[in-house]
Symmetry: C2
């Protein structure tokens, strides 16, 4: 199993505070020491930092924490392997181009017999069920839509439907990003939080680190954070309902869709 | 224009010495200050470090130099923009998945009217002629071969042919990698070097830095290095012939193909 972290905002924001919390679980406060990754978008392109080793002991993860990159949309993952060896090709998040955008995906859970699902033009590089499921999801989207749908709600429904079908084969908690939205599907465990005015302090769940967001933000800032397990101990996290997909845009929860 | 750097070896090797030389040209000893990127393979998957700013002044480039990652295959690029703004999506090298492998590409030159070339299922994310040309190249490969060709020479010829066609539209010096080979096409300017026993010292062309490779290698090591302009002043670089494609594998020049 693994832990997921997503962030989607209406102003460029750095993910350092939350990523620090996730990194602690990557081999220090948690058992997720088989790799970590962080994807950060700039418009429709993402850059991805990946390492097939524990985030808590990673110099690169430390670099990322000490040199914050602001972004509107990010996905991070710490891995505890169930399927697939510890290697770069099996490290989340995975990325593919579709419709002239990078799509980024990270998964928590195991999808059994996933190799029965067609992936069309998207070929897994590694051996994880997760990457195969991602390819299967993109295949359905690409098969049914020639380009990025202008009708955004149509896209959201298509993702919810395709994810629901794949989710029938196992535990399919995931985060997906398309350069514009953050999609978060709950199969068993997922939480979200919207940070907005009035901003307050927040304290990490696994550490004594506290941040006063009121000193770092303006009143119109909105930051949606999604995590497998709440990262802070003093903020109002919302618990996901199994079989539902959240869609975030500009720091708002834009839709909650059935995804079964 | 830009500068290219590729490395392909028979034992995992770090690219720090050559990347340091390239970085100097990214805004300090050269004018290529509009971005840099470095792709490093592990089997068929690559991780890519990208930054839309001068490598010479980049903390991330410094991190990469100070924390060497060993690899059999790498491509780096420093950018001086001709087409497309300074942004992440326009930063080389570009990467796509084809046949279950990452393909990585970096370009030097300008391909005019490239947008007439079909790209099939591969859609550019940014606005460079380079990324479009890469998509067009992959499209031809994917159109003509359902999977990674078992007959490797067939693949090499297909790449040489497709590159030659695209090269008719402009200046198409490039490096391409498929997780197994490094392909280097010369349109106007490209050089290569094979480091092998007996190893000696080498001194950077733009700096007084000297490395004694004999202390870092074993007698069977072979490292092919390709660069737009020779990176060292005291090694026997071979100058590329316009319209030719080099194919490197396990630190050897395996083929020189006509690519016009």
């Amino acid at each position: 199993m693994c832990e997921l972290l997503g962030m989607e905002c209406n102003v460029p924001t750095d993910i350092v505070f939350s990523f620090h919390a996730l990194s602690l679980r990557g081999g220090l406060k948690g058992p997720h020491s088989d790799g970590w990754g962080l994807a950060l978008y700039e418009r429709h392109a993402a850059r991805v930092f990946l390492e097939p080793r524990a985030a808590a002991h990673s110099e690169l993860a430390r670099y990322v924490r000490e040199n914050p990159i602001k972004t509107l949309l990010a996905i991070a993952h710490v891995r505890r392997k169930t399927r697939g060896a510890v290697s770069l090709e099996n490290t989340h998040p995975f990325m593919r181009e579709l419709w002239g955008r990078h799509f980024v995906f990270a998964h928590n859970g195991t999808v059994r017999r996933v190799r029965h699902l067609p992936t069309g033009r998207f070929h897994p590089i590694g051996r994880t069920d997760s990457e195969h499921a991602f390819c299967a999801l993109l295949h359905v989207l690409q098969r049914d839509h020639k380009s990025y749908p202008r009708d955004r709600e149509k896209l959201w429904r298509a993702i919810a439907r395709a994810a629901g079908e794949i989710g029938q084969h196992g535990t399919f908690n995931f985060l997906l990003a398309d350069g514009e939205h953050l999609y978060a599907r709950c199969a068993t465990r997922l939480h979200y939080l919207i940070r907005k005015a009035p901003f307050r302090t927040a304290t990490l769940a696994d550490d004594d680190l506290t941040v006063d967001f009121s000193s770092l933000t303006t009143p119109r800032d909105r930051v949606a954070v999604v995590a497998t397990v709440p990262l802070t101990r003093d903020e109002p996290w919302t618990t996901g309902v199994p079989g539902e997909l959240w869609v975030f845009r500009k720091g708002r929860l834009r839709a909650t869709l059935k995804s079964t």
